[in-house]
């Protein structure tokens, strides 16, 4: 899915992902309570995801689905319990500045992520200095160029400002500019707009789209908002209780979801265009990740659950072009668009 029709043919770089995660696992030890001694939170389990140049990959999930942990693992801000990270097909550097220069993380809350006692010149100057990108005379020019890249103009006024003088949207732009300072190839954005006012969210989303198209960045967009993922992303991966349950082209996943969880999520999202009240296809809340259910982690809530679902974890099964769903319902009709949505759901 390349937006610029003219240069589709000369993009072999879309073949090899810039950053690829294979079978990532992250377990956090539980530190409190004698009854849980030795217990682990199974936050991320066997997740594979590929970030390609010039594309936005969205990770959609509810709170506790492991989507932010995944972003932290990709940024190497948390150690891996299992799995591996590949950089352009080879082993990724284990940590340190070299990795940080290529992969940058933008956090959710721009009110907390900028130091309130420093001005923008200092905030944006730090990464330039630490990574030796610019110094001395060139510093101010480099900072202004950064501000212009995130459309904070006139930059010679913004460079003098303090964070408290900026609105939420402007702060988030500064946070993105700070991430761009080291000229990374991968930008990981963890819920970058959910703290912002509705009317300025699109501005930040459009900025990310712009960075993808103009600078060919590989962007991971972590969100709980399926509609914004459909708007911005090229690919969507839906996470539930630490696993990716469905992934595929953004519009396909949002318009014809195949996994029962994605269908539940979609039926719950506010949608003014919907006729009448929606019918929720399932109920309940996500499981405890200390003792996640065996088999498919969604089976206790799934209206289509079968005996097999309680025992065996479903693999990602292809349900269309580049579209996979981890659900046993698709097992026997691999070519056809398996449709658990059919209302002959006797298994409920």
């Amino acid at each position: 899915m390349t937006d610029e029709a003219g240069i589709v043919t000369e993009t072999p770089d879309s073949e090899i992902p810039v950053l690829e995660a294979r079978n990532l696992v992250k377990h956090f030890p539980v530190r409190r309570g004698w009854a849980l001694r030795g217990a682990k939170v199974h936050a991320v389990e066997d997740v594979s995801i590929a970030l390609r140049r010039g594309t936005v990959t969205a990770v959609v999930g509810e709170s506790g689905s492991g989507k932010s942990t995944l972003a932290r693992l990709l940024a190497r801000r948390a150690s891996l319990t299992g799995g591996e990270l590949l950089w352009e097909g080879g082993a990724a550097p284990s940590s340190g500045r070299g990795y940080a220069r290529e992969v940058q993380l933008v956090l959710q809350d721009p009110f907390a992520s900028l130091n309130p006692v420093h001005g923008l010149r200092y905030i944006l100057g730090r990464p330039l200095k630490i990574h030796g990108t610019a110094d001395g005379q060139a510093m101010d020019a480099a900072i202004k160029a950064l501000l212009e890249r995130v459309a904070l103009t006139p930059s010679d006024q913004f460079i003098e400002k303090m964070p408290h003088e900026l609105s939420g949207g402007q702060r988030q732009r500064v946070a993105i500019a700070r991430a761009l300072a080291v000229r990374p190839q991968v930008l990981l954005a963890d819920e970058p707009v959910s703290m912002l006012d509705v009317s300025i969210r699109l501005g930040v989303l459009n900025l990310l789209a712009d960075l993808r198209d103009r600078e060919r960045l590989a962007i991971l967009y972590v969100t709980h908002d399926l509609a914004s993922a459909r708007y911005l992303a090229d690919t969507i991966a839906v996470m539930y209780a630490g696993r990716v349950v469905e992934s595929g082209p953004a519009v396909t996943v949002a318009d014809s979801p195949q996994h029962p969880y994605t269908q539940l999520l979609l039926s719950a999202v506010p949608d003014p265009d919907r006729d009448g009240a929606p019918r929720l296809t399932g109920a309940g809340s996500p499981p405890s990740l200390i003792h996640p259910p065996a088999g498919c982690r969604f089976h206790p809530r799934c209206p289509f659950a079968m005996a097999k679902c309680k025992v065996e974890t479903p693999p990602a099964i292809s349900v269309g072009d580049g579209h996979t769903s981890s659900c046993w319902l698709h097992e026997n009709n691999e070519n056809a668009q398996a449709s658990p949505a059919a209302d002959t759901a006797g298994a409920a």
Partner: protein
């Protein structure tokens, strides 16, 4: 069924300031709204638009330095009409909870962590309906939990044993314990996941059908309100800029801000197209622009917009429609752009009233 259209809460000319004198911030300016029996009135706005301040003022829960500078909030109860702003401390206490109750966004964190849910629910009943005995209170508490879809054995649970959604349900049960006529909900589901949000909203809808209370639902999520509310009021910089039946507001917005806000929610269907949102940022209430507070961000702004503060009035070219907007474009002598003149839906077709 004229009773259905009777107002239960009439807010008129409400202004709220934070602070005094020249430094006062006008958080709510001249807001007028009517909530009718059994209706869901949605109040939409971004942070700082004054929507929560309005709720606090109406329930007289406003803290220092907030001051109600003018206006009235008339509540039509069983004993006739009363202006909430005229009541003394005892008078307002008698009305709160029994007639008007409130659920706040952080409500689920306002349960006492060291008392069980059952104790907290029966506390409400003990304070307000003294005729109930201990056993009856217990029974009623179980009934209330059942009403919001929680089994009665949870009466023994402490708040930390419940999920966020369940705690919010307990708060709703508590708010409804005395069968109030008006329920004010300030961002009640914002902190919850969408599936939980949907479940709670569905339960709320069923309860409203059964108990017939009216809801003032405050949120920043306009797309949610379009589904949920009967009528919607949109606030910007302390003012109500548009007020219309939900479906009409969604299909045919009249105020440029409403139009921009609706255009800020990416769609779940159809072709993907680039959207722009609204340029600029919400204004600083301490330094409001002169004239219409929205004019610096408005694509249709005219010269007059920077000098004249528009009033919330019926649309002059469709005076019979039950809707109001505060925009000069719709005033006599000006020409509104086509996008703000759509008439795909008329009141006769949907039969709603404001």
């Amino acid at each position: 069924m004229s009773a259905l259209n009777d107002p239960v809460l009439e807010i008129s000319g409400l202004s709220v300031d934070y602070g005094f004198g020249p430094n006062a911030v006008h958080a709510v300016a001249d807001a007028s709204l009517t909530l009718r029996r059994g209706e869901v009135l949605g109040l939409a706005g971004e942070s700082g638009s004054g929507k929560s301040t309005l709720a606090y003022a109406v329930t007289r829960l406003l803290r220092e330095p907030g001051v109600i500078t003018s206006g009235s909030a008339v509540f039509h109860g069983a004993e006739g009409a009363q202006d909430l702003f005229d009541l003394d401390a005892d008078g307002i206490r008698a009305l709160r909870w029994s007639q008007i109750s409130v659920v706040f966004q952080s409500a689920m964190n306002s349960l006492n962590p060291v008392l069980t849910v059952g104790v907290q629910l029966t506390d409400v009943l003990r304070a307000h309906s003294k005729e109930l005995g201990r056993g009856e209170r217990r029974e009623r508490a179980a009934e209330l939990l059942d009403m919001v879809g929680i089994t009665a054995d949870r009466l023994r649970s402490y708040p930390h044993e419940l999920s966020g959604g369940m705690r919010q349900r307990v708060m709703i049960a508590m708010a409804l314990a005395l069968e109030p006529r008006v329920l004010i909900m300030d961002e009640p589901t914002t902190a919850l996941d969408v599936v939980t949000q949907r479940e709670i909203l569905q339960e709320l809808g069923e309860l409203r059908e059964r108990l017939g209370f009216a809801v003032l639902f405050i949120t920043h999520d306009l797309s949610l309100l379009v589904e949920l509310a009967d009528t919607i009021a949109v606030m910007y910089a302390g003012r109500i800029v548009e007020h219309a039946p939900a479906e009409q507001l969604f299909r045919n917005p009249r105020h440029p801000y409403t139009e921009g806000l609706l255009g800020s929610f990416p769609a779940l269907h159809g072709e993907r197209k680039a959207m722009t949102g609204i340029p600029g940022s919400p204004p600083d209430l301490r330094h409001l622009p002169p004239g219409c507070p929205f004019h610096p961000r408005c694509g249709h702004a005219m010269d007059a917009c920077s000098t004249q503060v528009p009033e919330l009035l019926p649309i002059h070219w469709e005076p019979t429609e039950p809707r109001r907007a505060s925009c000069l474009l719709h005033a006599d002598g000006y020409q509104a752009p086509e996008s703000l003149k759509k008439t795909t839906l008329r009141t006769e077709e949907i039969g709603s009233t404001l």
